[in-house]
């Protein structure tokens, strides 16, 4: 018998003032994981959840069975989407500091995920995003000016001022409506995928969720439906180690991997280096092939790191070592893809610098254009837009209230 039980509360290895420490992470070498056939039964794939699919090695070479064999053109397109994402977010973050918008969030360090997946998925597929996959839209050339106008909530905001900045919706770009609620759209992806199967269509769904948000009941319910009905959906957990101030251990990461959750539903679960554009691509391609062959859902954990603060309201220096990001053992996804392109002779520093300034200019131009329309509080859609779209047709309440407000 014990002296009584004690309550265990997980804590991260380091806090502000400590030296960042990632020594507890096991990082397998690039190329080490096998690539099972896409029609392998899920029960033969359980080990995949405890490894880490990696393609780019330290020298920037693509190695092992998962190397997707991309063309230089594809690689450069991916790099472009990632760089554009980062530059755009940096600019808008500054705009927030200047009071031009109410709120902003960056995806720094996680750009490979949305960029690669956006390219692998088809135009007819639908992604159910989180707020941290802007690179999905960038890889599909969503107009920067529409982003800016949404972020500034100005008169040209495509969402008519109704949504918080960055909670985009872009149906034509395969990007489902975002909302502030975490996790609650994960199951919509499953429903969408089931609808596609119901119609004998072949469009797939792809959904994102943060590692922190996997604790929501919605996550489990979505996986249950995906499993039971063999829904053609790719369910992606972006494990960026943090949920605002809470480290991944508060979501269960100290107990097992997130990919391990797949086994409980009889689904394949892959664990993938999320900072490796090629690994993300390859794993996604594998899951897509499986889903399009009517073999159902795959759960993928992307192992990555949230290099910036959670949002403009956050100061990560309050809860983690200031230099933790720099120590992240999987590096920076932009730098790694750039290194790869250089290593295969398809890129160089000069081109990179030149290209970067072109992108900076594009971003600047879009920001300026948006500012000319107006920033938060200086410009907004007609107030009547507040009353539109509550129902398909307004009822008397909306009509009367509109009248009362005189709009």
């Amino acid at each position: 018998m014990t002296d009584g039980l004690t309550l265990y509360i997980p804590e991260p290895p380091t806090r502000p003032g400590d030296t960042p420490d990632f020594s507890h992470l096991e990082i397998p070498a690039a190329g080490a994981m096998p690539r099972p056939p896409t029609d392998a039964p899920a029960e033969t794939l359980r080990d995949m959840a405890y490894g880490l699919v990696r393609v780019l090695d330290d020298a920037g070479q693509a190695v092992g069975p998962w190397a997707p064999g991309l063309s230089p053109e594809q690689l450069r397109q991916g790099l472009s989407a990632m760089m554009l994402t980062r530059l755009f977010e940096d600019r808008m973050f500054r705009s927030h500091r200047q009071g031009k918008t109410s709120f902003f969030m960056k995806s720094t360090g996680e750009e490979a995920i949305g960029a690669a997946q956006s390219m692998v998925l088809d135009r007819r597929d639908m992604c159910f995003p989180t707020y941290r996959v802007l690179s999905w839209l960038m890889a599909r050339d969503y107009p920067l000016i529409d982003l800016v106008n949404q972020i500034f909530s100005n008169a040209r905001d495509p969402l008519k001022g109704r949504q918080l900045p960055i909670l985009y919706s872009a149906r034509d770009y395969g990007f489902y409506s975002l909302s502030g609620n975490l996790g609650s759209r994960f199951g919509h992806a499953v429903g969408w995928a089931m609808a596609s199967a119901y119609k004998n269509d072949d469009s797939l769904a792809l959904a994102y969720i943060g590692e922190g948000s996997t604790a929501e009941g919605d996550f489990h319910e979505a996986l249950t439906f995906a499993s039971v009905y063999h829904a053609p959906v790719i369910l992606c957990i972006t494990n960026n180690q943090w949920a605002i101030s809470s480290y991944a251990g508060i979501a269960g990461a100290d107990e097992t991997t997130f990919a391990a959750k797949a086994a409980g539903y009889g689904l394949p679960g892959l664990r993938v280096d999320g900072n490796d554009f090629l690994a993300v691509w390859a794993a996604t391609q594998w899951a897509v092939a499986r889903a399009r062959a009517n073999l159902g859902a795959t759960l993928i954990e992307f192992f990555t790191y949230r290099a910036a603060g959670h949002s403009t309201s956050d100061d990560p220096g309050r809860y983690r070592p200031a230099d933790e990001a720099a120590g992240w053992p999987l590096g920076d996804p932009v730098a790694r893809l750039k290194q790869h392109l250089i290593a295969i002779g398809e890129w160089d520093e000069a081109r990179h610098t030149q290209f970067e300034s072109e992108l900076v200019e594009r971003v600047r131009a879009a920001a300026k254009e948006g500012e000319a329309v107006g920033t938060l509080g200086k410009s907004k859609p007609p107030v009547s837009e507040m009353f539109e779209g509550v129902f398909e047709k307004p009822d008397w309440r909306v009509r009367e209230q509109r009248e009362e407000l005189g709009v």
Binding site: M126, P158, L159, K160, R162, Q163, L167, S169, A170, R171, Y176, S177, S179, N181, S184, R185, F186, G187, H188, A189, V190, G191, W192, A193, M194, A195, S196, Y198, K199, A205, G217, D218, E221, A222, T224, F225, V228, G389, V390, F391, E392, D395, W396
Partner: protein, 337 residues
Amino acid sequence: MPSMSMIQALNSALDVMLARDPDVLMFGEDVGYFGGVFRVTEGLQKKHGLKRCFDTPISEGGIIATAIGMGAYGLRPVAEIQFADYILPAFDQLVSEAARLRYRSNGEFWAPITVRAPYGGGIFGGQTHSQSPEALFAHVTGLCTVIPSNPYDAKGLLIASIESNDPVIFLEPKRIYNGPFDGHHERQMKTWADHAKADVPEGHYTVPLGKAATVREGRDVTVLAYGTMVHVAESAIEESGIDAELIDLRSIVPLDIDAIVSSVTRTGRCVIVHEASRFAGFGGELSALVQERCFFHLKSPVQRVAGWDTPYPHAFEWDYFPGPGRVVSALKRVMED
């Protein structure tokens, strides 16, 4: 026209829509092979195929999330929640997602879903098989809430709900599934057989959302009710001998405000009846609307007859249920002043 019970009328509505629109499908706990615990989906899987009407995991949140995703894709899913009491695990999906999708995406996506659930008391179902949660939905901007009181309306309103491009909570008063119930539990059960509103056409028709029905015209007081309470009120009116006008709201969102105001303006008195517990129930909104719009016509305070402010208590079914006795008292009270 065949005479149908409410169960049969609802089944017919679903059957008609399955036959008519390949984008209509339905699912929920035990609705497939078995046909639902109240038999509303009986025979539909067999007739229309496995994928048109199927069983789901016991996961109300998952059911509604799945429906929303299907709706956004372009289908018109009809989800059954086995009892309205069990809708609450899906409350966030309904409020934060279904109700808000069209608005927040500026019309890029929307959720044309219908969520059916048996609701209300009178069947000795105890706490978790008897509740009336309509007020919770009525407060949510973006949701419609529909409550039929007879077979004809049930079919027409359900078809209108399925065809609506807005999310609809469709609450089925389970006590009157198989016959009208006027609250006189001590009397013999009636079936729908001879009821005028049990004459239900076989084919497609709609009863529009947002249009109340005047069940009985009267000059002295307006009674507002929906669901089972329409029958209770009707019976109470007869018993009271008061010349009351009875309005069956049929949907509480959209609400037929014109019907309410024009009646109360004439009668100058109003009694509101619902099964749900009283405090912050939908009767509060109705009472507020009536006094805001008819204040100078009102001869006496608007009265509410409702469930008590307690959980739904098993053994006290008939002490809790706002039966005809309590409605008669309210009618008398409202006439006194």
